[in-house]
Chain length 424, copies 2
């Protein structure tokens, strides 16, 4: 379908044909949902052995996990975090059930209390800004909104954020105090940051100065769908090599490994950052749920158990991703109507329509029974300046449902594109 080369008559013919198909689709009264970036019941069941795994033994090397205490979590579960994030265990803190909470707490402390004493609080600068690669994760953006932090954007590319632009922005604006990154299977584009990108991000603090922090949300660190996944370079090692260790704070969780609502969240940071965070945490809690942490230790206690477990997830997710990508390739592989990456892991596929069509497509799909994440949600303040990005989350529906939903999705993209061309 080449819209630019098509005659008005050809466009009209396509419009009629697609409209008819769309009306037929509407008649089916479907109820499909591609909005939710969460594990399916089948995936969650892979970890059903968690409850009861302790077998009455609540002791972890002499620690009674039922009682208070231990602000940075059980040493044994911190090892699991170290394995997931590929960092030394001494840099790891294990928290409660939510890495979002750890991120919110860390931004709060850095902004208003100071990670290295009150004088280091970003708030002292007056205006605080975060650099947000777009499209990105809406809950990162909402943390900034809550904290009164302005957001400025740089585009994502196939190798990560556009680093020329990122470096330029940081050099020119001393109020940029932080940056969000989802470095592996980025939410939502699915790309893995290239080695060069990781190296350049590790060096950003040399441009930005002391208080700057990269929030490295490695939410999909071990969530590969292929047998030989692209390796993400170690930002930990890169930052040590660059002498910028304090500028990177990493996050991860088992939310999409075991239970989405009842997993264990982790952060990894330099000794100095951990000290600042733990000081603040000491006012907020007497410690995380060590019983649940011990369950996770037992569940992954065998060597290689984590990898074997993630392969089971991959087997469930893979056909859903394949369905989405096959439909997109078949419909738009030879046209300019859409652009997307082909992620080898993570939870999302991100699709860019022609400019100005994302809202229309989401609305049309909704009216034909296919719920999509609201257009704009992947941008700060919910505003996609191009109105073109749509996030597709295929993990919860069955493969058949993904197939049915994608048929309608491509139909809506085609119809909206043809109508736009006709209106020109």
């Amino acid at each position: 379908m080449n819209l630019q080369a098509a005659s008005k008559d050809q466009l009209s013919a396509w419009e009629q044909e697609l409209s008819a198909a769309y009306r037929t689709a509407q008649g089916k009264k479907l109820n499909l949902d591609l909005t939710r970036g969460k594990p399916s019941a089948e995936q969650l069941s892979l970890a059903n052995a968690l409850d009861g795994i302790l077998n009455g033994d609540y002791s972890a090397n002499g620690v009674d996990v039922r009682n208070y205490g231990g602000l940075d979590g059980l040493p044994e579960v911190r090892k699991l975090g170290a394995e997931i994030m590929d960092v030394p265990v001494e840099n790891v803190l294990a928290g409660g059930n939510s890495s979002l909470t750890l991120m919110h707490q860390t931004v709060l402390v850095a902004a208003y209390f100071g990670l290295q004493g009150e004088a280091s609080a970003w708030h002292n600068k007056g205006t605080m800004k975060f650099l947000c690669p777009v499209p990105g994760y809406d809950r990162h953006f909402s943390v900034c909104e809550h904290m009164g932090i302005e957001m400025v954007t740089a585009p994502m590319t196939a190798t990560g954020p556009d680093m020329d632009q990122v470096e330029k922005m940081i050099a020119e604006d001393a109020n940029i105090v932080g940056m969000w990154c989802v470095p592996k299977y980025s939410n939502p584009t699915g790309v893995v940051y290239s080695d060069d990108t990781v190296q350049r991000i590790a060096k950003l603090a040399k441009i930005a100065g002391e208080g700057f922090r990269v929030f490295w949300d490695n939410a999909y660190a071990v969530h590969d769908l292929v047998d030989e996944p692209v390796a993400l370079a170690s930002i930990h090692e890169a930052s040590i090599a660059a002498g910028t260790e304090d500028s990177v704070i990493q996050f991860a969780s088992t939310s999409k490994i075991t239970f989405a609502g009842a997993g264990v969240a982790f952060m990894a940071a330099s000794e100095s950052n951990l000290k600042g965070i733990k000081h603040a945490l000491s006012f907020m809690t007497i410690g995380p749920d060590k019983v649940n942490q011990l369950r996770h230790v037992k569940f992954f206690s065998e060597n290689g158990a984590l990898q074997a477990h993630m392969k089971k997830h991959a087997a469930i997710i893979k056909p859903r991703f394949a369905s989405v990508l096959d439909h997109l390739q078949a419909a738009f592989g030879d046209s300019e109507l859409g652009k997307w990456e082909s992620p080898e892991g993570g939870y999302f596929i991100s699709f860019d329509t022609l400019p100005g069509l994302a809202k229309d497509v989401v609305r049309m799909a909704g009216e034909a029974g296919v719920k999509l994440t609201p257009a704009g949600a992947t941008f700060p303040y919910g505003k996609d300046p191009q109105d073109s990005n749509i996030r597709i989350a295929p993990t919860v529906p069955t493969v058949e449902q993904v197939d049915a939903a994608m048929e309608i999705f491509v139909l809506c993209v085609k119809l909206a594109s043809v109508r736009q061309a006709l209106a020109k």
Copy 2:
């Protein structure tokens, strides 16, 4: 032992006798600990059935508790919170494993974000102050310190805070935005607020004005040691009757019911307060650990199960409290050397030495192998102006250990008192 009536010779004789006994005690090289307000392993074991109680069924009335979602917790566990706090379930929010975290979050929101929109944030007043009944709970005070809230004090009496003084302070200082209360088996004095005190606290907002909030930490709501405990009047009903429902926020948890590190925390508040808190929580988390919440629902699903469970705790704690109180009564029942309440529940017994002796007693006991909470810890900024309050926490040691520790404690109180009298 009547120090004032005693002659110098009598005091010297006592001093020599007590010093000899103290040296003998030191020689025993004891290692006893009365510092920790936490459940013993025996108590924790009462809830050992929690892990595995779900028997593979992770569904709560159709909700898959393993997945994301549900900011205010499972409806079923909110009922448990309603039972503990004696409030309607619609006023209850169930959180993670820490009521301290809920309190910290609520103070944070009220202070800097506003429970009812930004204009309602206490921060707008400039100076923020909290009224702290003393002696009180150190972690309440540290929340204030962390948040930049000044603390002003009013004395505890046998019926709760000195309400004449509380009302006067609030009338005279518009910067007092909140007040800490542990209304039942108060930490550390163990008193239960009288009906009159509860009524007067419910009406404080009429003196203080709109933003004022009472933080009603009902940590020991069901932690009775006697069969017919004194009932705490309902602050919920009192505040509704007074038209001050927004001024009271209640907290509780199962930390000292099931597992201290892995229980469920609750808060109860008016619709308006809950709305403000949930708005803020929506930036901080995707929801609490519903799997653990469901475990608690199952554990207490039988009618009366909670009460029966608390009786088992009482049976374990009671002889320890009895030991402390027996030793105090035997040693000081007929003298002016110390004052204490006789709590019928909770975790603490609070002892007031003659003025100026608490630090000495704590140091002397420590040097004879009995660890006590640092003197001053029960006051804001760690400063007891009278240097007389000592918190005794007898739940963790065995009864024999409590006995041995109390023998040394009373010896140290007597010796310090005699030495003080001699030095006059």
